[in-house]
């Protein structure tokens, strides 16, 4: 850094180059954890030296869906639940792209559930960052498939009663190669998990438990955003490698965090190429190959 620079580069938050600072302050509520997840994401990008030119963020609709609009990257704010198929199209048309799907629990597991399952089954090389605030935040606090039982929401005014998704278990069963859960309290581990996902090929799923102070916390008298983080600190237990069937969430029980699944299997593009090379031999015109040196990070 030259001595002639009037402003010390360290006085600039290292995440600012990754953000559209001309759109700050963002729309998320005080104490909402989404911004914290974006911090961890940006720091993971810095630490893993990901090639930003080829990094694309795709999101759906919802509070977390707004992440795409705040990152200073090629980004797409698509329709509700359909970030994953859009991301699949991006990746297949240009395998050099490093595609991240950044969306919320409702968007990904309710309306987007079918696509979530199939992309995991196919093992499409996508990094899914699922911010799970256990509710539909943007639209005013309705029940989500991830909302635990006995919770008051605007569409369950007498309390939820059906069973919530255990997303790591769902992803494990569908075939994801990397499945982790952290909360926004676990900023360091979360940053590392995102880096790990960037270092893997195949369908990676990171669930991040995050507070929705305005709707989930407030309606259920669970304090504010800070209260939620202190609560996560208190009830979280790190159990790396835990069987995913055992990591379901309830209203007041343990939040199991850690890396649950980390396995290797060929991703969708590898499978497609292998199959077509085998069956067509020299007639196959392979548009999906990436040079060995064209790594993603």
């Amino acid at each position: 850094m030259s001595a002639a620079q009037p402003v010390n580069a360290c006085e600039v938050n290292p995440v600012e180059p990754f953000l559209r600072m001309d759109r700050m302050p963002h729309i998320w509520c005080p104490g909402c954890g989404i911004g914290t997840t974006v911090n961890c994401f940006a720091r993971a990008l810095v630490d893993s030296e990901v090639d930003l030119k080829h990094l694309v963020v795709v999101s759906g609709i919802g509070c977390t869906g707004r992440v795409a609009g705040y990152v200073n990257l090629d980004s797409f704010h698509t329709t509700h639940g359909r970030a994953i198929p859009f991301a699949t199209g991006l990746k297949l048309a240009n395998p050099k792209l490093n595609v991240v799907v950044y969306s919320g629990d409702g968007d990904l597991s309710a309306i987007g559930g079918n696509h979530l399952i199939h992309a995991a089954r196919r093992n499409v090389d996508l990094k899914i960052i699922c911010v799970n605030n256990l509710i539909y935040g943007m639209t005013g606090g309705q029940t989500a498939p991830t909302t635990p039982g006995h919770v008051i929401t605007s569409t369950s005014p007498y309390g939820t009663f059906d069973t919530n998704f255990n997303l790591p278990h769902l992803m494990d069963a569908a075939g994801a190669v990397y499945v982790a859960r952290w909360t926004v309290y676990h900023v360091r581990q979360l940053t590392r998990a995102i880096q790990e996902a960037f270092n893997r090929k195949g369908f990676s799923f990171i669930e991040i438990i995050s507070p929705c102070p305005t709707l989930y916390q407030r309606r259920n008298r669970m304090g504010d955003g800070l209260g939620a983080l202190k609560y996560y600190k208190q009830v979280s237990k790190i159990r790396n490698g835990a069987p995913t069937s055992e990591v379901g969430l309830s209203k007041v029980g343990e939040i199991t965090v850690g890396t649950f699944v980390d396995r290797v299997r060929p991703d969708f593009i590898e499978l497609m190429r292998a199959s077509l090379h085998e069956t067509l031999g020299g007639r196959y015109v392979d548009t999906l190959h990436m040079e060995e040196t064209e790594c993603q990070s």
């Binding site: 010390n8 360290c10 800070l226």
Partner: protein, 93 residues
């Protein structure tokens, strides 16, 4: 002498309290002044305890604060820099 410094963007803060709570050495506290949205931003109350670990920055959902190591600063004097961290917080008075 503080090992670290904090920079606060007062107008971006929404007073969630994460940075104050999770700073390992309790460098920060809510200030009594307001930004233009009516939030109380944090201020540095124990500058000498700051290690520049940037845990505040990692927690901040609003990208309104970050910490950095003092030795990374260009030669402008550490005392001036610590004051710079304070200055942004007091500007909104």
């Amino acid at each position: 002498m503080a090992k670290g410094l904090v920079k606060i963007i007062v107008e971006q803060c929404k007073a969630c309290g994460f940075c104050i709570e999770f700073c390992p050495t309790k460098v920060l506290a809510f200030s009594s002044h307001f930004n233009s949205k009516g939030y109380h931003p944090p201020q540095v109350v124990a500058a000498d305890k700051c290690s520049g670990c940037d845990l505040c920055g990692m927690y901040c959902p609003d990208f309104a604060i970050h910490g950095y190591r003092a030795e990374q600063k260009a030669p402008a004097g550490q005392a001036g820099a610590a004051a710079a961290g304070e200055k942004e917080a007091t500007d909104a008075r």
